[in-house]
């Protein structure tokens, strides 16, 4: 099934409904249980469910309008080269919503500090579908909106909500049961700390790394079972405010994801030497009874998980930490 077929199923686009502008904000999100492996690459259908926390005011704001001749994309005020991979990915997605002979002007502002290593494609596509809904006056519910966002970038479906969000993998081949939903719980004391690394790494695309892992790693066969166990633990931890359980589960889940990459061939390793040094600092702090854990995505940056009460001890060890309060 193609993305175009799904979009046609979900929305009806009419020239006469179009408004002058659509404007939306969506938060970035960090997965505590990772999305790692697709059962359908065209529709971004995942092999497993996943669970994230959104980053409040950190995310993407997008203003969308119609224009003539060609798509115009600006990112943080700068015009983006239409031939680059960023613009091409956006344009291909916008094609799914295009009226004959009409083009889109997309003004995108990321409120995520550059260099923080926080993925912006999730908040970017989430903001874009919300802006599309407004611009084209689409008559859809939030479940369908989450599905549309997923077609742009898998984890974007989680960026439609604040707080803790679960993306259920679903089972249907058209993915109509694969969308995100918010959990009711909030945890105002929870903090995320992004440890900034100076060295920039030639990145593996996370899409390629994911596919290479599912195709070549034997250890990956255990990943779905790991996720099932971790999701249960995370939901218990969130419900019962058991921070040690949350931290331990998120850390182990992230390490297991990276473990499956090591077992791919050729091996995939996102870590820099400094990444390991940060892991060790975290483990040393835990030995001193500081409740701090980490998670790490398909990149070298480490994200610390801790409670507000530990903020001073964290800042003492990690000079270059950028602290986020996901619940404001």
């Amino acid at each position: 099934m193609t993305r175009a077929e799904i979009v046609k199923k979900l929305v009806h686009i009419e020239e006469r409904s179009i408004r002058p502008q659509g404007k939306a904000f969506a938060p970035a999100n960090i997965a505590l249980c990772k999305y790692w492996g697709k059962r359908d690459k065209e529709l971004n259908l995942p092999i497993t469910s996943s669970l994230s926390v959104s980053l409040g005011a950190l995310g993407t704001e997008t203003v969308l309008s119609l224009t003539e001749e060609q798509d115009i994309i600006t990112l943080n005020g700068q015009r983006v080269d239409g031939a680059g991979s960023f613009a091409r990915r956006l344009t291909e997605f916008l094609d799914l919503f295009r009226l004959p002979g009409r083009f889109f002007q997309v003004e995108t502002i990321n409120t995520i500090p550059t260099g923080a290593g926080l993925a912006s494609s999730a908040s970017g596509f989430a903001a874009l579908v919300c802006a599309l809904r407004e611009l084209l006056q689409l008559n859809i519910d939030s479940k369908s909106l989450s599905i549309l966002a997923r077609l742009g970038s898998g984890s974007a479906c989680r960026s439609l909500y604040n707080g803790f969000v679960e993306w259920r993998a679903g089972e249907l081949t058209d993915g109509m049961d694969s969308y995100a939903e918010p959990l009711p719980d909030s945890w105002p004391e929870m903090r995320l700390g992004v440890v900034m690394l100076t060295e920039k790494e030639k990145p593996h695309s996370s899409r390629d790394a994911m596919n290479r892992t599912t195709e070549t790693s034997l250890l990956y066969k255990q990943w779905p079972g790991k996720v099932e166990k971790d999701l249960l633990a995370l939901k218990t931890a969130i419900r019962e405010k058991d921070f040690a359980l949350l931290g331990k589960t998120a850390e182990s889940n992230a390490l297991a994801m990276h473990a499956t990459m090591l077992d791919a061939w050729p091996p995939v390793l996102y870590w820099l030497p400094e990444t390991i040094a940060i892991f060790k600092h975290v483990w040393e702090l835990r030995e001193q009874n500081v409740e701090v854990y980490f998670t790490i995505d398909a990149g070298p940056n480490v994200k610390l998980l801790f409670l507000q009460s530990e903020i001073k001890r964290i800042e003492k060890v990690f000079k270059n930490v950028y602290i986020i309060a996901p619940f404001g």
Copy 2:
């Protein structure tokens, strides 16, 4: 079943057969397919088979004699504290062969350069059982000798032979079918390069790490399947002199072993920041068509695998490399 029961099954020790001295050398070995996980901790029975290459003249030389009052152990000419873990492990093993009221003098010399990160317990226990055989005039075949060495340290059973050696896991609960045998093939052009790391790390005991992994890692469930596949590939590579297949299989096997450790809780990570830097150098060299691969044991040191023809290009990149010709 206890170690003492196994020893009683295999050897008969008589006062009148004892000679003044037993002297033996055994090589260290590096596994291309790792021994990782025990099905019996008392008898060091492995969950899977493994395959190693012995390091020729690098290993342990042991001279054994009987003495009065207490065991006396020297290592590289220095008397070893009897209360330390090294001496206690040796003494407990010697208890299995002890005649009433008699003690052992063990003079051990490691020809392995210190700091090379090459395990000496394998060559140590292999040399020790060979010296015991000579001292006590034990009437046993090499299969039984390999079993005795295994009782001291699992991988010691592989250090009784030169060249490529396979340790078959076996199935019996008493381990009588769990011993090492040499492969007939030799590969004179093969080289191992140990990249010396300056920083010393507080080590996890590999015994504890192994047990923690088998007890807590879900990904470990795939390890036996991985080993089965890798052993077949390694034997094909050795038989057909396919160095790329040998290198790729050994590297992937080592990374998968470390991957299972990452999935343990608490996580086990032997790597130092420098370890990662070395991995990346190896991968960069491969991109330049230099056929070099690595393996890594339960420690931070990386061992390069390459052929004699690449020696200059290796030495150019790795200034601190100690090169070994396993086939002399």
